[in-house]
Subunit: 455 residues, 2 copies
């Protein structure tokens, strides 16, 4: 069971815990520290070997990194930050409040400080903000043997050594990449530049979603981030990308559910935060849905004459919303995975139109069966014009489900075209859109079919 | 623009295309072949060097692998299958129809055939079905130098050499794992068993989601799959896991949208397939939503007396559905990421209760403002009891939104407890559940408040 860490029990034996952690797997250690109040976690970290503490702070799964660093003695904090991978250290520094942030930055050695400041300059969720500067690069003139020697020396201070970047000996521009497996398999005296392949690179301002796509597409373990002149600024590694994909998917799922994305685990979002994240969209949707009340007020006369029509309002509206939600979720994913491009919108519309018509006809048939059975079995009396009522319901269902499918599938395209994330299209948003229109379709169909009889 | 490949233009110059592909990046080659009809893709593959063709067939992004293999001359097909990584070859063989499947299996060498048959025996989406058998293992008695020599020899035939598995020299049970980076940094004459760490392993029947969690949690490049006796059956690599995570997320997103998950890209699902995937759930939801009609039939007398109440039905129902959809999407992700466990359900319920009450009160306040403003400005007349109508709407909103939040958050727990995937809880399903109950809440509140006046 997860516990929200507030103040931990005063009797906590930090020494016993520290000795337990120094033997544990880092992922387990992170889970244990996530259960503690940040001050207690800091008290444990102080007692651990520096390597173990650094390894723990380097894990993105650690929930209260900044709070823990803040609770550490300043001297320990700077030692740990300097030992951490630069991207994770920058992440933590970014979340610290002043004056702690400034005090810690001043305590760091000049090289680490400059690196962290450089990383902090890039916007969130870009390759620049995600990258680490601890990678291996060697001049193109080196041999395989010399490169392996170099790797042996620097191995402990690099996040990954599985990709080695080959730089022009004079301009220090990136000219190739060699995987460690090719290097190990290579002849010791071969020139590194002969083993290198032309590198797949990204720029520091590339969105993390695009970096993820690049790494997945080419099955890379890391991708170098290069500036316009071709100098390597850092690398983004595959484990950072998995974390980014999972975070991105969580955000998309929450947005599709109709709320602002939360950055924190569910149990750690406070009540005011939860209300903010959910209340905003809920109010917007509520205001939109108010149009249904307006539409119904407009048709009040018809409603009074034919109360039987109101019985089917929720049924018809929700069917439109459901088919819209299906189409939207399909197209959000198809666009995200690049299975479908913006220019394919008409192809999609031409597929959704028959799909919607057929689905609507199926539901319409079920609706007719319901009215006929209820009428014939005497469960409910839909009035003397019950046949026309059944026809109205069926026709409205075909119209509403078709509209739902087409509108739901086009919404992600419209959002992308307008420069928004297609994943901002949520199920409740589509449902609201289709509800209002669905009501208009239903009443129009009713007027057409029942005019002169019931209306 | 993506093109659905049917029959390609007869003038296709396969020779020109083959020469272009032999210089290209494999990911680009896959994209090009995805545009061709399978027979044409096969015609191109025949002309490519075996290595290049194998590399292409090994990519999970290739859409028509089985169709292409089927269109190849049998001899070429067996050569390519034998060259492929065993997990991908098994994937393709599994999708082949008889008699082709049998013919190809008979054409394979005995070792490859046995390996593929072994992989095919594991259920879909398990570690066993995903794993590859091409990994590096060495006896614990070997030195670093000898291990590196071995890697140099087998490097080309192994999917990854970044994790080396150390086996007991006699029992051949797994006793440790060494990363290539530690091996490279190690002293040449050190015993490999001195460098090895205790391995993190999984079993062949473990679900791919759990394997993904293990690899993410420990930042692994591969995880060994071991049987009960401790023998390594194969390994699951990080790139297979990324593909699995993306596929899993697509399935979850589609299920949350209220449909059965599709295995194929959007534009490649035919109309009948699309109707099947979407029609089933749409019909189930429609039947569930029919209860709203029954509920309204039950309250027909009240509706006739107070037609003004019908005006707010869509507004109130959709607010409940929206808050339910938010809560469900939040909890599906929280459960999937293990932020929340099954036993935490009461913690969640205790958070959703106040959240729902506050959100409902906010919407209720907006609803009251709407009625008051419309009434006072003379836009619409809600009748002499308009104040009571406003109170009814507000009270119903509080009740419905609270019910939506609590029910929506509990649904994923109930599904998981009952042994289903919590991600089967869809936005339309929650909306339907909340619609029916929401209507009952609304009418009950109306009876309570308006009895004696309007009702």
């Amino acid at each position: 069971m997860t516990d929200t860490p507030t103040a931990t029990d005063g009797d906590l034996d930090v020494f016993a815990l520290a000795s337990r952690l120094s033997d544990g797997h880092v992922a387990d250690n992170v889970e244990i520290l996530n259960q503690l109040a940040p001050q207690d976690a800091a008290a444990v970290l102080v007692l651990l070997p520096v390597d173990t503490s650094v390894e723990i702070l380097d894990k993105p799964e650690l929930n209260f990194g900044p709070e823990i660093v803040e609770a550490l003695p300043r001297r320990t904090a700077t030692v740990l930050l300097a030992g951490m991978s630069a991207d994770m250290a920058a992440d933590i520094v970014q979340q610290l409040e002043e004056p702690v942030r400034n005090e810690l930055m001043q305590g760091l050695d000049a090289a680490t400080r400059t690196t962290i400041e450089g990383l902090l300059a890039y916007p969130e969720n870009t390759a620049g903000a995600m990258m680490t500067t601890e990678f291996v690069s060697v001049p193109a003139t080196w041999t395989v043997e010399r490169t392996l020697q170099h790797i042996r020396q620097v191995e402990r201070t690099r996040e990954t050594v599985y990709a080695i970047y080959v730089l022009d000996a004079f301009t220090r521009r990136l000219v190739g990449a060699v995987s460690l497996r090719r290097l190990v398999a290579g002849a010791p005296l071969a020139r590194i530049s002969d083993l290198a392949r032309s590198p797949i690179t990204t720029s520091p301002l590339t969105d993390r979603e695009d970096v993820a796509r690049l790494i997945t597409r080419h099955d890379l373990l890391a991708v170098p981030v290069v500036d316009k002149a071709g100098h390597v600024l850092g690398i983004v590694t595959v484990d950072d990308i998995i974390d980014a994909i999972i975070e991105e998917n969580t955000e998309d799922a929450q947005k599709f559910g109709g709320m602002a994305a939360t950055d924190e685990p569910y149990l750690q979002v406070g009540l005011p935060g939860m209300i903010r994240k959910r209340g905003g969209w809920l109010c917007v949707l509520f205001l939109g849905e108010m149009l249904t009340a307006s539409a119904m007020q407009h048709f009040e006369g018809e409603l009074e004459k034919a109360i039987v029509l109101t019985l089917f309002i929720p049924l018809i509206m929700s069917s439109g919303g459901n088919s819209g939600s299906q189409a939207t979720s399909l197209l959000i994913r198809a666009l995200a995975l690049r299975e479908v491009r913006l220019g394919d919108w008409w192809r999609v519309a031409l597929r959704e139109l028959p799909t919607g018509l057929i689905l609507g006809a199926i539901l319409g048939a079920i609706g007719v069966v319901r009215v006929v059975v209820w009428q014939k079995l005497g469960i409910f009396d839909y009035g003397e014009h019950w046949v026309l009522v059944a026809v109205t319901v069926a026709a409205a269902l075909i119209g509403v489900v078709t509209f739902g499918s087409v509108a739901g599938s086009m919404l992600p395209f419209i959002l992308q075209r307008a420069g928004f994330d297609p994943a901002s299209a949520s199920a409740p948003f589509v449902a609201t859109l289709v509800d209002v229109t669905g009501l208009m379709i239903y009443f129009s169909v009713a007027l057409l079919i029942l005019s002169g009889t019931l209306l």
